[in-house]
Symmetry: C2
Subunit: 317 residues, 2 copies
Amino acid sequence: MGEFELIRRYFLPVAEQRGHPDLLLALGDDCAIQRVPADQDLVFSVDTQVEGRHFPQHYRSEFTAWRALASAASDLAAMGATPVCFTLALTLPEADESWLEGFGRGLAQAASRFGLALAGGDTTRGPLTISIQVHGTVPRGQGLMRSGAKANDLVAVSGTLGDAGAALDFLDVQEPDDDERALLERYHHPLPRLELGQALRGFASACIDISDGLIADLGHILERSGVGAILNPELLPLSTPLHRCAGERAPRLALSSGDDYELCVTISEKHWGALPEGVKNQLTVVGRIDRGQGVRFEGGALADSGVRGFDHFGSIS
Amino acid sequence: MGEFELIRRYFLPVAEQRGHPDLLLALGDDCAIQRVPADQDLVFSVDTQVEGRHFPQHYRSEFTAWRALASAASDLAAMGATPVCFTLALTLPEADESWLEGFGRGLAQAASRFGLALAGGDTTRGPLTISIQVHGTVPRGQGLMRSGAKANDLVAVSGTLGDAGAALDFLDVQEPDDDERALLERYHHPLPRLELGQALRGFASACIDISDGLIADLGHILERSGVGAILNPELLPLSTPLHRCAGERAPRLALSSGDDYELCVTISEKHWGALPEGVKNQLTVVGRIDRGQGVRFEGGALADSGVRGFDHFGSIS
């Protein structure tokens, strides 16, 4: 199968299932063309997933595609952006039809769910690597950044944390029980908080998605904003399945495992009070920004525990 | 070295050496932000290079970076777009400082030469793979596409063809002579025809960059436009070094080797006559569009020769 046949068979259907009115030209030319409305800014991010590092070897290709697009789309959520389209740079060792069929299906499902049209891409032969770049828009000047956190802002997170990290223990379980299944679903089909991110525009002072663990990702907000934070581990939102499956490890998973793709936001008390109830309900306050440095914990119980986030290059000396 | 230190040391300087007024936010946040002027369209393309497939193993990292950015930027040239910025998704097996230092230097040189600001990226650990997405702009509705070629249009190409393909024979020569050096330079430092592409807006009926060989790439124009072409191989622009080094193989290299990153355009006689001399001088007419199918040759000498372009997935069954 040649490159063009491969694209025609597995990716053209993804492009055809949904377009976007701003996407004027997709697939089949030297470039794609997007029209950005005059009152909007373009917001974009690229995210790479490597087999054996970001997902297990022999992982189902349907899940691989979903997770790759979700991981990229989560960066749009963190900016408060409305999704528009994406490109796919896919390097794969061989044109395995059943793998490609599953990958195309997972990509189509995720693209439809997240509201992203396939704009273009490149397929090459080599070790399995997936780079996805997502494009979204925000009203001019209203993108949520990491740099706006201020002392006394509340620190809040969406959903529950640690579930996807706990699922790593069950990836090979043949007949998972209900709790394990719930955690696995969070690993296989993460749901970037796109609507929530958009709803936080004009309220949050800073925002980031939690892909490497709360401590690591909140750390990026602190560094860019020149502030510190104190967290209360007892306030961490933990799911019942996580409690039941991970027991005492639950708080640590919530603090330092990635892959949940929830949002971490900072927000002034005043803006917190002004948040619509339906938005506030999706968030849990877990701490507060201060003039210190780095992430610290109330009571100091975890202060010296060495809990860390995940650095994709951490193991390179 | 962690991911963030790696970015700080080798890629932040590339971002800092030149920005772009449309690039409002680069590196260090969840997304980059680009403002597209209200009278412009965004034009973008992603291009992947894999070690051992698109460039040789142990190839100099400085050249690797230049070629990767040139290859992507060439797609902007083919659309007639003005370069703005790019993202880099770099997967590499280890943080080899001398490799990274050369890669950063080559990237900075190419970015400066092509007028592209580094907007963001992702670095991950794995087999060496480089995906670059370039962003440019065109006045609304004026992007050059593959689909506009019409019967009786002239087929023209820029520069000389086959040089980079011929250079493959000399990549390991320790002391190349002047001719070999000239061909090698075209392989190591391709120059996408960005200004020429922009100058062809409003004149060319279709345009593509020649990355896989003239026959293959002109073939894409023909397919998208629903037309055929007759080429006269005697008109192919061949450089003196190519003549001297490749001899009788020269026309075939010009027809079917890629990596030159010249442009192939179709243009009506009327528009050809209206082209400014400075633009026309950069082009050579090599044939004509007709109502047939595919690429054919005057005289039929090459008709049955099996000369083909390069399909990056050609060897996958």
